[in-house]
Symmetry: C2
DNA sequence: TTTCTTTTCGGCACTCAGTGCCACTAGTCT
DNA sequence: AGACTAGTGGCACTGAGTGCCGAAAAGAAA
């Protein structure tokens, strides 16, 4: 902690030529212009002014390019959940976190829309994204597990992880279909479906078994 | 329908050398023995006694090999749902379909277990599987949409698709962790979580709007 | 300044998945 | 036999991703 607050840590060695964000933007531009499959990694590297080999040091795969710095977003979500007061029920906390996680500055919204359009429609990206989603689910299930006092690998927290992911992506699909729709509203609608459950017969409120 | 009931339709042209199922079995054997990444497509082709080029006519990608004939399973599930009496509520019908879909003859269970172990743990397969899962979700959301009288792309059916997929996979994860667990029981537990919903405050039973 | 050390850069060569092309093989039908 | 049809597989090619290694660019020490 003594070296994390240095303003401009004068690092050793050569300075990086570019940033993950820069490369990601250049790549997205090309993907939107010519399509994901039609764009080669060499194209991206050339457009970004770096060598192909260097690009693969910034991003482990072509499919990671549209994601940018996802790990940073996950950290923010984790922090948001940790900061949530324990009096807030698990589902409410997660509902708020989902909304928070998908809030973007107005000028970034069209850009984000195009990005998600690719991620949810290009087969190679759909496939690869599931690995990112797994990390996201882990954040959710870790939180739920902590609150429920069970292992993060148990049935309930993992199901909660899946179910919130599903609701979020279902909301995104709607959002992408309609230019005038509001992502946050859709997310809230989807989470509401989770809340009420899918039981056709109204279920009696479950009373925690005493002494279990 | 006049040619679908011929006992041995004397086809034209050369007879296929092998079957999807055969290749899939051979591949799975090698994947379990040496690992998925360590096994090349050439290895599989050689072991199956066919050319590499031929293998890619039976399966569009290496990652499809462990899935075998998934389309056939989907068709069975679709048929099961269509045959379900309309008096059975949507969620019940889906719960039964999920169970039906994951029922295997006893002798195939250990084999299925290893297969799912690969599919849920090898990153390349995890990624690719999401494309198969999308087809599965489509079966679910089509059914739900039909029952609810809305488009299959609408928020509710797609959410139902996601949520049932999530519950199923959460159950599978538990099953794989414990040799003595029962997949069907776990699936039912997971679906029960969906039924009751995740609302912390008991939600008033939703009465269907009369005349809607 | 020179030299040392550290870090990034990127060329080269390689493996492997997946594809288009095309000739070959093994069957059925006249 | 000859025509037709469908499966096979070799060959060559593209493109993603990796290991290796020397070059470039920075700070630190001499």
């Amino acid at each position: 902690m003594s070296d994390s607050d240095r303003p401009t840590p004068p690092r050793m060695g050569r300075q990086p030529l570019t940033t993950r964000a820069d490369i990601s933007h250049v790549a997205l531009q090309l993907f939107l212009e010519h399509g994901f499959e039609q764009t080669t990694v060499d194209d991206v590297a050339r457009a970004a002014g770096i060598g192909r080999r260097t690009l693969f040091r910034y991003f482990p795969s072509k499919s990671d390019l549209p994601w940018g710095d996802f790990e940073a977003k996950l950290s923010r979500m984790r922090a948001f959940l940790v900061d949530t007061d324990v009096s807030v029920p698990v589902v409410d906390a997660l509902a708020r976190a989902v909304v928070e996680f998908n809030q973007f500055p107005l000028e970034e919204v069209p850009y984000h829309r195009e990005r998600m359009n690719l991620l949810l429609n290009v087969p190679a990206l759909v496939a690869h994204s599931s690995l990112r989603y797994a990390e996201w689910r882990r954040v959710v299930s870790d939180f739920a597990a902590g609150r429920l006092g069970v292992s993060a690998d148990a049935l309930e927290p993992t199901t909660i992880g899946w179910v919130f992911l599903g609701a979020s992506l279902a909301a995104y699909e709607q959002w992408l279909k309609d230019d005038d729709s509001d992502l946050i509203e859709l997310l809230e609608s989807a989470v509401l479906l989770l809340r009420v459950g899918f039981s056709p017969i109204p279920v009696a409120p479950v009373r925690p078994a005493v002494g279990a």
